[in-house]
Amino acid sequence: MGRLLESSSKQLLAQNAIPVPRSFVAASPLEAREKAGLLGGEVVLKALVPVGKRGKAGAIKFAGNPAMAGELAAQVLGTVVRHYPVEKILVEEKLAIERELFVSFTIDKKLRRHAVLVSSAGGIDVEEISAKYPERMKIIHIDPYKGLADFRAKEVWADLGLEGTVLRQASDILLKLYRFFVKYDCTTLEINPLAITKDNKVIAAASVMAVDDSAMFRHPELADAVQVGSDRAWRPLTDLEKQVVEVNEADPYRGTARYTEMDGGDIGFMCGGGGASLMMFDALLSYGGKPANYTEFGGNPSEKKVYGLVIGILSKPGVRGLVVCGNITNNTQVDVCSRGIVAAIKDKGIDPRKFPVLVRYAGVNDAVGREVFTAAGIEYYGEEITMTMAAKKMVEKMRQTYPGAEDSQAAHGA
């Protein structure tokens, strides 16, 4: 899934006739002050970062007048909230809120239905609602073909105690939100709070929205707003990660390569297959190894893509070994990959007699792969050893090459 910034999701909500507070985006304290003036003085400032629970992280502030808005904006802009630098803030009119509701649409993976969680205890997170006010929470499962019936929307709010004009508005908004959730292929759509103002207006005061990456082909209009792949990491991409994304996208039709930097570590980790990489990472840790990155490739990538990937892995400071591993391949060509790997090792000026490199990679055309690795002086194994044995050998090889380097051991041990 790809997350959207709140400014983008609010704009889409407004386009779909769902009421939201008036707001502006500001990139400087001066701008924040100006926009606050336009909004009448009393405003909420929200850091525009693609993460949840910003309130708890101190990234939401209330300003009583434009000057104060400018000062608070200066405090928030340039800070880092849950690993994301704050470059822009949302300056929003402060609503006079009477009550807060909660609405969250998701896909229930177990029941395989759309689901909406609705509560009359908004303003706090869902874990807190379910712990403190379970009786004020309702879940509706929705058949995607039948949709959400009008009467169900009214029933759920009426059961939670809403009446009169507020009941009618909240029901109408719930129906519109469901259509919105479907229209944009959302994986998450959370409105918290759905505010009831003192003059009895129901307004989507805060929104969290994520769109299914796999559905982006039918939403070209969202291309700029959705941060595709933002679910994969807990922080923005590092420079090396961006470099590998470019390598991957340069040839979008053959193979996939995913690279995540880990904190510290000394073993470059290059693994073929999603499941194999999970297994191999655990195996290295269990023997006291410290992988410096998590890399998974597959889908029969080109030599060039494999080359770029290995260059990325070896470029991380502190990497002083490389393990290449994979499950016995069904269709990925071991010979093609072997050429890319060997070329990258050569171009990085690495001597495999001094810098530990170990390969366990069997499958399609592996007889040629074995020749390529062996000719380059690299320790190569096919299916004669298991992946677990390869992990053990790699960690032993690191210890032999760097004796006494205790920091390469056991911090993550099983």
């Binding site: 395989r112 990456d213 082909f217 039918r218 297959g273 297994m279 840790l285 499950n327 016995i328 069904n330």
Partner: protein, 299 residues
């Protein structure tokens, strides 16, 4: 015997003229698998390695008796292909396609349930029954016997590559595979390990099952509950990959789309505990699959 497919399967491949689908057709035929027909709209009258191609599944069904569909169409068309399969009364389908929109997956899985049809996948490497020389999908590649030899052990894996590697571990133990199934790496898939264990329970050929699991979902907890209720009584050997993800920030995805811990759910440690309590052999190291299989003295 074995489950899902055998030499009497009557297979149609939807999207058969695509690059990967036609290569897989060749591999399937070479193995001896009964591929009867293919469908690609606009390509009626063509042949793919001797397999006749039709414009619609309805045409293919008029000309042949079909009971199994292998779906290779691009992501945007999978939902429609499934609806077409169901409309033509086919009750078993294997969806190979990766990156299907989740909202489409919800719909197609619901429609299949309503029709009483069985879905394997999406995003699967396929299914193989070595004794019957029947395979659906890329599973086994161009050298099937390297990993898949006939035998008495069922294999269920979240990962396509590890379906092969795990079957190879079975072979290292001196045994072979009754049926191996890649269930698919997405968070929304058709048949779960529990569903397949119910089939293995009733299969005379299968004497034990090995599963390869990943973080995310509640499949293993569901399996444990199924065992506790007596639904599966044969030995179950389970390896759960991705233990390290528990010490990473929640919501981070490694490997497959479905391999994600969310809201405290899907942790490998919880899965292992549930399966152990149900009496399964949960192995710490992947290699322990071999020694555990040998200790069961199945051969």
């Amino acid at each position: 015997m074995g489950i899902l497919i055998d030499r009497n399967s009557r297979i149609v491949i939807q999207g058969i003229t695509g690059r990967e689908a036609s290569m897989v057709t060749r591999h399937m035929l070479a193995y001896g698998t009964p591929v009867v027909a293919g469908v690609t709209p606009g390509k009626k009258g063509e042949q793919v390695f001797g397999v006749p191609v039709y414009d619609t599944l309805k045409q293919a069904c008029r000309a042949h008796e079909l009971n199994t569909a292998l779906i290779y169409v691009p992501p945007a068309f999978v939902l429609d292909a499934v609806l077409e399969t169901l409309a033509n009364g086919i009750k078993l389908m294997v969806i190979i396609t990766e990156n299907i929109p989740q909202h489409d997956a919800v719909k197609l899985l619901m429609e299949a349930d309503n029709a009483g049809a069985r879905v394997i996948g999406p995003n699967t490497v396929g299914v193989i029954n070595p004794k019957e020389r029947a395979r659906l999908g890329a599973i086994g590649g161009d050298n099937v016997e390297r990993c898949f030899v006939p035998g008495c052990v069922g294999v269920i894996s979240r990962s396509g590559g590890m379906t092969a590697e795990t079957s190879y571990m079975v072979k290292r133990a001196g045994l072979g595979v009754s049926t191996a199934i890649g269930i698919g790496g997405d968070s929304l898939i058709g048949s779960t390990p529990r569903d397949l264990l119910a089939l293995f329970e009733n299969d005379g050929e299968t004497r034990a099952v090995v599963t390869f699991s990943e973080p995310g979902t509640s499949f293993e907890e569901d399996t444990a509950e199924f065992i506790m209720k007596g639904g599966f009584t044969k030995p179950l050997i389970s390896y759960i990959a991705g233990k390290f993800t528990e010490s990473m920030p929640e919501g981070t995805m490694f490997g497959h789309a479905g391999a994600i811990i969310e809201g405290g759910k899907g942790k490998p440690s919880n899965k292992a505990r549930a399966l152990r309590e149900a009496g399964a052999h949960v192995v710490e190291q992947y290699d322990d699959i071999v020694s555990t299989l040998q200790s069961l003295r199945l051969g």
